[in-house]
C-alpha cells in the first residue's frame, strides 16, 4: 500500500502529480491511497517513491481533468482514490467517460454534480454585511459549504465584486479580496460573523412582501433552498411565520368585499371614455373613408377575415396619394408584418433592386398588397408563409378598391397571380397575361408580372438571373408607359 500526502482538502495539483507518479510506477488503484495533511491517513502505508525518469505522459481524454478537478472538491473521503481509479481505467478503456451507466463513472459524476451544486449555492447564498473600517468599507460574509468549494468559487466573487473589499469566512477556509488579489487563508469561526447592517431590514421587508400567500408551495421552495443552508440566511427566519399566516392572508384577499373606486378614478375614467369614444368614431366602420389617411386608420381595426388575430398589424399601402402607378403584391411577409410597411423584407430587396436597375423611383409610386394581413402557419420558432385563399383576397379587395379609387393611377402593376386576381376580380395565369398593357377602365391600365419572391425561391442561379432580367424588363415597361416614375 502506498500513500501520497496532499497539502489541502481540494489539492488538485498535489493529487495530479501523485497520480501521474503512481501511474508511471504501475501501482494498481487498490494499492494507492491519499491523505490530506492534518487528517488521519492510511495506517501501514509507505510513501510514494519519486517519479521514474523518462516516463511517457499519461493518456487522458479532454473531459477528464475537468471532472477530476471537481471530484477532488467533494467532501467524500474516497474522492482521490476514485479519481485515481478512473485515471487507471482510462488507460485501457478510452471511451470510459462516455459510458454513463458504469458505476465508477456515474459515482464520479454524482460527486462532481454535488460540488457544482454546492458551489452554485455558495454563489447564491453568501450574504455580505457591510462594516466601516479605518481603510473604508469592508464586506464580510460567513458561509458554511458542504464541500471544499471556496477556491473553486472565489474567482466568481472576484469578477462580480471587483470594486469592493470583501472576505468570505467559512469553517475550513477563508478568502479575502482587496481589489487586487485573492488571498486564501485558514478557516474561521462563526463568532467572527459581523452583525447585521442597515440593509438587512429592507431585505427582510422585500422578502416578506414579494411572497404571494395565495400560492403557497413549500416543497418547491425547500427543493431549491434546502434547510441545511437556512441558519446563515437572514430571511429564513421569516419563512415559518409567512407560511403559518398564508392561509389567513389569502382568505382575507378573497373575503374582503371590493371597495368603491375613488372619486379621482371616476373622473379619470369619464375623461378616458370621452377620448376613446372619439377615436372609435374616427376609425368607425359605418362610414366610407373620405381619404387615404382615414382608410389607413380604419384598416388598422379590420376584422373582415380571421387573418387579423394571429398577425401583428395591418400593413396598408404606402406612397403619394396621387401616385401615377400602384404596385400590388400578394400579402405582407414576416418582416413586413413586424415593421408595418410593405415590401421591406427579402422580396422587397429583390423588388428594390429591379426598380433601381430599371431606373424607377419607388418613392413616386404607391406600393401595396392584395391582402393586408400576413397569413402564415406557425412552425416552432418560424412562421411559414401561407397563400391567402380566394375568400380572403375577395374580402380584402374592399381596401384595394378604395386605394385605387382614391389614387386613380395610370397604371397598376400586379406582382404575381394573387395580385392580378384581386385587381381583375377573376383568376388568370401569369403566362397568359404577363408583360403587356391591359385596359382596366378608361384611365387605368394593368401590367401583370411575377412576384419578386418567385425569383427569390428559384434554386438554380441561371434561372434566377433569367427571371431577374425579365422582371427588370417589366419594370422598364412600366417606366416607359409612365415616365413620371423615372428616377430624377
Amino acid at each position: 500500500m502506498f500513500v501520497a500526502s496532499l497539502v489541502a482538502p481540494a489539492d488538485f495539483e498535489g493529487w495530479r502529480s501523485a497520480a501521474r507518479t503512481a501511474l508511471a510506477l504501475g501501482i494498481e488503484p487498490e494499492h494507492m491511497s491519499f491523505s490530506v495533511e492534518g487528517e488521519a491517513g492510511e495506517l501501514f502505508a509507505e510513501p510514494l517513491p519519486p517519479m521514474p525518469k523518462g516516463t511517457a505522459p499519461a493518456f487522458v481524454p479532454r473531459a477528464f481533468p475537468d471532472l477530476a478537478g471537481l471530484l477532488v472538491c467533494n467532501s467524500d473521503p474516497e474522492r482521490f482514490r476514485l479519481a485515481y481509479r478512473l485515471l487507471w481505467r482510462l488507460q485501457n478503456e478510452k471511451a470510459l467517460l462516455e459510458i454513463v451507466s458504469d458505476p465508477d463513472v456515474s459515482r464520479a459524476q454524482e460527486m462532481a454534480k454535488a460540488v457544482r451544486r454546492d458551489s452554485h449555492k455558495m454563489k447564491a447564498f453568501v450574504r455580505f454585511r457591510e462594516i466601516e473600517t479605518p481603510e473604508g468599507r469592508h464586506y464580510i460574509a460567513w458561509f458554511e459549504p458542504f464541500h471544499h468549494v471556496v477556491e473553486l468559487t472565489a474567482p466568481f466573487f472576484m469578477r462580480r465584486f471587483t470594486g469592493m473589499v470583501w472576505s468570505i469566512l467559512t469553517p475550513k477556509r477563508s478568502v479575502h479580496w482587496d481589489g487586487v488579489e485573492l488571498d486564501f487563508g485558514p478557516g474561521a469561526s462563526a463568532d467572527q460573523k459581523p452583525a447585521d447592517d442597515d440593509m438587512e431590514a429592507l431585505w427582510l421587508t422585500y422578502y416578506a412582501s414579494i411572497f404571494n400567500p395565495a400560492r403557497l408551495k413549500v416543497k418547491a421552495m425547500q427543493a431549491e433552498m434546502p434547510k441545511k443552508y437556512w441558519h446563515n440566511l437572514p430571511e429564513a427566519a421569516l419563512i415559518d411565520p409567512l407560511i403559518k399566516g398564508a392561509e389567513a392572508a389569502a382568505r382575507r384577499m378573497i373575503e374582503n368585499a371590493p371597495t368603491l373606486p375613488s372619486l379621482r378614478h371616476e373622473k379619470n375614467a369619464e375623461r378616458m371614455m370621452a377620448q376613446r369614444g372619439l377615436d372609435e368614431v374616427f376609425a368607425g366602420f359605418n362610414k366610407r373613408p373620405d381619404d387615404l389617411q382615414e382608410a389607413r386608420e380604419q384598416a388598422k381595426n379590420c376584422r373582415a377575415c380571421p387573418l387579423w388575430e394571429p398577425a401583428t398589424q395591418t400593413v396598408f399601402g404606402e406612397g403619394p396619394a396621387d401616385a401615377p402607378v400602384i404596385f400590388v403584391g400578394e400579402q405582407p411577409g414576416d418582416q413586413e408584418d413586424l415593421a408595418g410597411h410593405p415590401f421591406v423584407g427579402p422580396a422587397g430587396k429583390v423588388f428594390d433592386a429591379a426598380l433601381a436597375a430599371a431606373g424607377v423611383d419607388r418613392r413616386q409610386a404607391y406600393v401595396t398588397n392584395a391582402v393586408k394581413h400576413f397569413k402564415f402557419e406557425p412552425r416552432g420558432k418560424r412562421r411559414i408563409h401561407a397563400k391567402p385563399n380566394m375568400g380572403e383576397v375577395k374580402v380584402c379587395r374592399w381596401w384595394l378598391q378604395i386605394e385605387r379609387e382614391m389614387i386613380r393611377p395610370k397604371l397598376i402593376v400586379a406582382l404575381g397571380a394573387t395580385a392580378a386576381a384581386s385587381v381583375l376580380g377573376k383568376t388568370v395565369t401569369i403566362r397568359d397575361t404577363r408583360s403587356r398593357l391591359i385596359d382596366l377602365d378608361e384611365g387605368t391600365k394593368l401590367l401583370v408580372t411575377v412576384h419578386p419572391s418567385y425569383i427569390l425561391r428559384l434554386p438554380d442561379a441561371a434561372a434566377k438571373a433569367r427571371e431577374q432580367a425579365a422582371f427588370e424588363e417589366d419594370m422598364a415597361l412600366a417606366k416607359d408607359f409612365v415616365p413620371e416614375i423615372a428616377l430624377g
Partner: protein
C-alpha cells in the same frame, strides 16, 4: 399625504410587483466588472438568491417604480379603481436600493416595472432613467430587466434596449377579445406592434457574421412576456396557441404563465378562488414540450379533453397513453426525437442514453441508472433484456404510471 419612509415604499411597491411571474436573470451575454473595477457580472445562467414560500425564486429586485396607474385593467391590483395604498420611488431611490442589495449579494439585478402615470412616454422615460443611471453613472454590470410600456415611443424603447438585458411586454390574456374586455385601455395591437418592433431591433443589433464592427448590444437577454391564466374563460388550447404565436412571431425567450391569484380589493368581475396552480404547472410542461421536445400544440392538446390538459398527469404521459401504438421504443435503436417522446425521459437522460449506447448495448438496469425513475419508463421502452409485452397496451396502465394522488395539506 404623510411622508412614507423608504421601507414603507419598498413594502408597497414590492407587494404590488409579486403578481408578475418572471424573475429570470439568465440568457444574457457574459460580462463582469474586472476591467471597470465596478460591481456586477452576468455569467450566462442566472442565480436564484432566495426562494419565497410560494416556491418562486428571488433572483432580481422586483419592484414597481410606482403603483399609481391611470389604467383600469380588471385583473390588476394597481388599477385606478382599486383602493390599495399607493407609493412612488424616486429614480435615485431605486438606483441606491439596487446597488446596496447587489453589494450584499441578495440579488442578481433589477426587474423594474411600473404603473402608468401621466402618460406612457413619461413613465417609460423614468424607467429608462433608472437603467441609464445604473449603467452609466455607477458602471453597474448586473442584470436589468425592464417592463416596457407598449405604446411608449419607439425611441424610448430603443434606448431601454441599450441598457437592459431583457425587455418584456405583458400580453396579459390568451385572446385579443378577452384583453379588450378586461383591460379596456390596453390595445392588443399596440402590444403586438411593440413586440414586433423589439424583435426587429434585437435582430438588427445581432449583426451579420461578416460585419467587422460589432453592433451595440441590444437587450441581449431577448424579450419575454406574461399571460394570466384563469382570469378569463380561455381554454388551454387558446393559451398554447397564443404562446405558439408569440414564440413564432416575436422569437420570445419565454412566455410566463401566471395563475390568476386573488388580489386585495378585487373587482367583482373576477373569479374569487384559489389560483389554478396545477393548471399553470401543466401549461409550463406543455410549453416545454413544444420548445424542447418537438411536440406540436395539436398533439399536446389532444392528450387532454375538450381543449384542456389533463390535470392529474403530465402532458407527455397523457399523450403517450393516447398513442400507445408508438410504443415500446427500443432504447438501443430509436433516434433522439423518438426517445424524447418517452414519458420519464428528459433531455439529459436521452443524451446519456445516446452517449452510453455507442459503447454498450443497454439493459434495463443501465436505463435505470440513466433516468430518474425506471418504473415510469418500463411500459414504454424495450431494452436488451426487457420487453414490456402486453404491458404497453394494458387497459389499466394509467394507474400504474400515474403519480399517486396526494393528500393535500398546508405544511
Amino acid at each position: 399625504m404623510a411622508q412614507t419612509t423608504l421601507i414603507d415604499k419598498l413594502a408597497i411597491l414590492s407587494d404590488a410587483a409579486k403578481y408578475d411571474a418572471s424573475c429570470a436573470s439568465s440568457g444574457s451575454t457574459k460580462r463582469d466588472s474586472s476591467k471597470t473595477k465596478g460591481i456586477g457580472s452576468t455569467e450566462g445562467s442566472g442565480i436564484c438568491h432566495a426562494y419565497a414560500p410560494d416556491g418562486r425564486c428571488i433572483s432580481l429586485l422586483k419592484i414597481l417604480l410606482t403603483n399609481f396607474c391611470i389604467y383600469d385593467c380588471v385583473y390588476c391590483i394597481n388599477r385606478s379603481s382599486s383602493n390599495v395604498a399607493r407609493a412612488r420611488f424616486s429614480v435615485d431611490e431605486v438606483v441606491e436600493l439596487t446597488l446596496n442589495f447587489y453589494k450584499r449579494n441578495y440579488i442578481e439585478g433589477l426587474f423594474l416595472s411600473s404603473g402608468i402615470i401621466r402618460n406612457s412616454d413619461y413613465t417609460m422615460e423614468e424607467m429608462v432613467r433608472v437603467a441609464r443611471k445604473l449603467r452609466l453613472e455607477h458602471g453597474f454590470a448586473g442584470y436589468i430587466h425592464l417592463k416596457t410600456i407598449p405604446d411608449a415611443s419607439p425611441a424610448l424603447i430603443e434606448e431601454a434596449g441599450l441598457f437592459a438585458d431583457r425587455l418584456s411586454i405583458n400580453i396579459e390574456l390568451p385572446t385579443d377579445l378577452s384583453l379588450g374586455a378586461l383591460a379596456p385601455e390596453k390595445a392588443p395591437r399596440d402590444i403586438k406592434r411593440s413586440m414586433g418592433h423589439l424583435r426587429l431591433k434585437i435582430e438588427e443589433h445581432k449583426g451579420e457574421k461578416k460585419d467587422r464592427a460589432r453592433p451595440k448590444k441590444f437587450a441581449p437577454g431577448g424579450q419575454s412576456t406574461q399571460m394570466i391564466i384563469g382570469a378569463d374563460g380561455s381554454d388551454d388550447d387558446a393559451v398554447l396557441s397564443r404562446s405558439e404565436n408569440l414564440y413564432g412571431n416575436y422569437r420570445l425567450r419565454r412566455v410566463y404563465y401566471s395563475a390568476f391569484s386573488p388580489i386585495p380589493d378585487a373587482s367583482s368581475r373576477l373569479p374569487l378562488a384559489k389560483p389554478p396552480l396545477m393548471r399553470e404547472h401543466r401549461l409550463y410542461q406543455a410549453d416545454w414540450l413544444m420548445r424542447f421536445y418537438g411536440f406540436e400544440r395539436g398533439e399536446i392538446v389532444s392528450g387532454g379533453i375538450g381543449g384542456m390538459l389533463d390535470l392529474s398527469i403530465d402532458p407527455k404521459l397523457a399523450w403517450a397513453l393516447k398513442n400507445r401504438g408508438r410504443f415500446p421504443v427500443d432504447v438501443n435503436r430509436a433516434d433522439r426525437e423518438t426517445l424524447l417522446r418517452v414519458p420519464g425521459f428528459g433531455t439529459k437522460a436521452v443524451d446519456r442514453i445516446l452517449s452510453t449506447r455507442r459503447h454498450r448495448t443497454l439493459r434495463l438496469d443501465d436505463v435505470a441508472k440513466l433516468c430518474h425513475s425506471v418504473e415510469r419508463v418500463r411500459p414504454f421502452v424495450s431494452a436488451l433484456d426487457w420487453s414490456p409485452g402486453g404491458l404497453t397496451d394494458r387497459e389499466h396502465l394509467r394507474p400504474l404510471v400515474a403519480p399517486k394522488a396526494e393528500q393535500l395539506s398546508l405544511f
